[in-house]
């Protein structure tokens, strides 16, 4: 029975996408119905699966769908792995995808390519589910590439805009760069274990732990090398430094897309992959340290960049990168379940944030600069309220779901004496509070600069408001609700390898959820949070002299942050120009001069010259021909002569 369940979950969105691709009538209503029903089926079934797994979390099932190809040494079967980790991921993906589909009915209703949008989003959901339910690296890679493709198609949805086209090219190319790492890692896995299943990798880990591989006369230990290469792939997908610069530009796509792909699901594929491969990463210490450093620096520095942005979607994009840094830090500390838990809560409140931003943008007639907005609190009460919920969850106010997941991660470092990273993360909390409340104060309070009229009726249609409310409830409560049942009752015991670590952490430091919550009020992170809100209130709401003083003193830092530490010019100017020069050299010198002129034309010219000389042998005179024959005959006689 679970076989049919899981197959339907995965293939219903694909079916929906194909039906939408080939359907003939142009009505928006039929598109909306088909798209939402296909995702709705997946969502209900995933919810059902999740609930059943909450009761029996240690069930692992593998279903083989069909055999794709088999050769002497290697067989590739299309197979599904259903365990607690994949079930929770599929729930996240389908739940958020469903509500964003409903939201998009209202957001995209005036688009000409309404149908194309839903084809792409359904296809994206299918590819994400392919990654989540795969049990071998080849299927993971296929899903990985398909997700990258869907992201490309959706970022460049409005393909007539040059900026959108540039952004989607950038996203796809950076994804590809990460895929080099992923592919090399998969190849190394195949070389060392002769198969591509996760299971075979985990079984053969003890035997591989001291082996080395020699590449170009350098000897590497194989397991850290594999872990590093796979992490490069994950870093490109999950937007860690230095492969993060595609994410802010990907805000060129429609807002539901930013919510779906670049907040909740695609960017979490990297985190998911590393959590899935947790036994591998437990064996490689060096790579875990690298992941730790990268995650911590991403969390803090990207939050700083978000402070100087004025476009509402870009602020939330940098916030996404920063929160992904938190998840990566948890992975680096080997607390994989905490990372997944933060992934779960973050998906809800970040998607909600993006949807609120979309509703604000719609109301302000597609204006995205928050400095030009103001006073929308009375005009859009629902958005105001849901943004408030999402905002406090993002900041990590106690009792919200964001608090439970984020503070768990911060507490790892508090209790493990890793002070440097602890202060980084706490500073990150401060910065998060700062920019979230900046948006809050600038958009909803102040003067109504854009002169938006207040309507008597609801601010938007139902289809836009309903997902906001539907996502606000989990953003508020899911952290508390699933705290015990998911984290500390063996839920992830069979899928990640941090079971013992988490149990000892719980016994030593958390004790129970009430204790944890009360204890948090006395922690440094809560303090940073409060200070952040107060500072933001003073700067952005009251607009006191503090604003001007800070502007003057910190202007040089502001410039650095606006340039995003030079990543913008690096990725837009330096690196492409360098490659363009190389390409020019290869094109003109090598292709035109050497290959075309020297080799191809050169051979033809030589043939022409030689044949021009050779044809003069044919003189047309018979006696010349006879003479040649005679000479040949004489030579023949001479050779066969015995004197």
């Amino acid at each position: 029975m679970m076989y049919f369940l899981v197959t339907t979950i995965i293939f219903a969105p694909l079916l929906g996408s194909l039906i939408l691709l080939f359907k003939n009538d142009k009505s928006n209503l039929s598109t909306a119905i088909i798209a939402n029903i296909s995702i709705g089926i997946s969502m209900i079934l995933s919810l059902f699966l999740l609930i059943s797994y909450l009761f029996t979390p240690t069930v692992i099932e593998t279903f083989t769908l069909f055999k794709w190809f088999s050769s002497n040494k290697f067989t590739f079967e299309f197979a599904l792995l259903v365990d607690s980790l994949s079930v929770v991921m599929s729930f996240i993906v389908t739940f958020i995808s469903f509500f964003i589909h409903i939201y998009s009915i209202g957001y995209m209703e005036k688009e000409i390519s309404f149908n194309r949008f839903f084809v792409y989003t359904n296809f994206f959901t299918f590819s994400m589910l392919l990654i989540v339910f795969s049990n071998n690296f080849l299927q993971l890679f296929i899903g990985w590439e398909l997700v990258g493709l869907s992201s490309y198609l959706l970022i460049g949805f409005w393909y007539e805009k040059i900026s959108a086209v540039n952004a989607n090219l950038k996203a796809f190319i950076v994804n590809r760069i990460g895929d080099i790492g992923l592919l090399l890692g998969v190849i190394l896995i195949f070389i060392s274990t002769k198969s591509l299943d996760y299971n075979n990798l985990f079984i053969s880990l003890p035997s591989l732990s001291e082996k080395n591989i020699v590449i170009l006369n350098y000897s590497f230990e194989i397991i850290p090398l594999i872990a590093l290469l796979l992490f490069i792939g994950a870093a490109a997908k999950s937007a860690q430094i230095p492969l993060h610069f595609w994410l802010p530009d990907s805000m060129e796509g429609p807002t539901p897309i930013s919510a779906l792909i670049h907040a909740a699901t695609m960017v979490t594929a990297g985190i998911f992959m590393i959590a899935r491969l947790s036994p591998l990463y437990d064996e490689s210490e060096y790579v875990l340290d690298l992941i730790l450093i990268i995650g911590a620096s991403t969390a803090f520095f990207m939050g700083l960049v978000a402070l100087v942005q004025n476009d509402i979607k870009r602020i939330i994009a940098y916030s996404t990168i920063s929160q992904l840094g938190y998840m990566t830090v948890a992975l680096g500390a080997s607390y994989y379940s905490f990372a997944i838990y933060h992934l779960l809560t973050h998906a809800f409140f970040k998607a909600l944030l993006f949807l609120c931003a979309g509703s604000i943008i719609l109301k302000c007639h597609h204006e995205q600069d928050i400095m030009k907005m103001g006073g929308l609190r009375k005009i859009m009460p629902y958005t105001f309220f849901t943004y408030l919920i999402a905002g406090i969850s993002l900041i990590g106010v106690p009792f919200t779901s964001g608090f439970y997941s984020k503070d768990l991660i911060i507490d790892i470092f508090k209790y493990n004496e890793n002070n440097f990273i602890y202060y980084f993360l706490v500073a990150g909390v401060f910065v998060t509070a700062l920019y979230t409340s900046k948006i809050f104060f600038k958009v909803f309070f102040g003067n109504n600069k854009l002169k938006i009229k207040e309507n008597e009726e609801l601010e938007h249609k139902d289809v836009i408001l309903m997902p906001l409310i539907a996502l606000a409830i989990p953003s508020m409560f899911i952290g508390l609700a699933l705290f015990d049942s998911m984290l500390f009752s063996n839920y992830f015991a069979s899928s990640t390898s941090d079971f013992n670590r988490i149990n000892s952490f719980y016994n030593n430091h958390i004790i129970n959820v009430f204790n944890f919550t009360m204890h948090a009020f006395t922690s440094l992170s809560f303090f940073a949070l409060v200070i952040g809100i107060i500072v933001s209130y003073l700067i952005y709401y009251k607009e006191t002299n503090l604003t001007k003083i800070l502007d003057n003193k910190l202007s040089s830092i502001k410039k650095i942050l606006e340039n995003e530490y030079g990543f913008i010019s690096l990725s837009n100017n330096y690196v492409p120009c360098y490659f363009k020069k190389i390409a020019n050299i290869l094109w003109i010198k090598s292709d035109i001069n050497i290959i075309d002129n020297l080799i191809v034309n050169g051979i033809a010219n030589q043939v022409k010259k030689i044949s021009t000389r050779m044809r003069l042998i044919q003189t047309g005179y018979i006696y010349h021909y006879a003479f040649t024959m005679i000479i040949g005959l004489m030579l023949f006689l001479l050779v066969f002569f015995n004197f």
């Binding site: 003479f627 005679i630 004489m634 006689l637 001479l638 002569f641 015995n642």
Partner: protein
């Protein structure tokens, strides 16, 4: 010193001299006549070798038909004799070089291989009777019948090609060429002078 040797040396010298004249004559008709002489002398030499039928055939066919044909063509082509005379010495060097080299090589070769005293000429080859003609006929129509038929076809070929090459078409001969008929266009056949419908 018997009759055989005398005849052999005499007629071989004649043969060589006449062939020299063939090659070095100014006049093509003289060359043709000397060629006829060569055939005569070589026919006699063939008689010495016991090929009676063939020597007579040489005269009948070769001299009687082929050389007559040659003479016909020589006389038909209107050759300006004054152009041909002279300027012969220019090519003499090449000719002599070729002659000496080829002759030396061949003679040396033959001398080497075939000059033992037991490699002598027999004079009789008898298969079913004394007569060379009967023998030839017997062998030709039993063992080499296929080659005989093929030779007949070759002669047919010769006839057809010679006639086709030199055939000049008569101009008042009315016949149809299918390829031309198919590629005819409307403009070749119909010229519209006045058509009241096309204003």
């Amino acid at each position: 010193m018997n009759a055989e040797l005398v005849i052999f040396y005499l007629f071989s010298i004649f043969l060589i001299i006449s062939s020299l004249y063939v090659v070095t004559s100014n006049n093509p008709i003289k060359s043709a006549i000397y060629l006829v002489f060569s055939f005569f002398f070589s026919a006699i030499l063939w008689l010495l070798l016991g090929a009676e039928f063939l020597s007579v055939i040489l005269i009948l066919v070769y001299v009687g038909a082929v050389m007559v044909l040659f003479l016909f063509v020589v006389m038909m082509l209107d050759i300006n004799l004054s152009e041909i005379t002279g300027r012969f010495v220019k090519y003499l060097k090449e000719g002599i070089f070729v002659f000496i080299t080829m002759a030396t090589l061949l003679i040396l070769f033959f001398q080497n291989q075939f000059s033992d005293t037991d490699k002598n000429i027999l004079t009789e080859i008898n298969i079913i009777s004394d007569s060379n003609t009967k023998n030839l006929g017997y062998v030709l129509y039993t063992e080499y019948i296929l080659a005989f038929e093929v030779a007949a076809v070759i002669l047919l070929l010769g006839i057809i090609s010679a006639i086709t090459l030199t055939h000049r078409k008569k101009t008042n001969n009315k016949y149809q060429d299918p390829s031309i008929q198919i590629s005819v266009k409307k403009e070749d056949r119909v010229t519209i002078i006045k058509d009241e419908d096309l204003k």
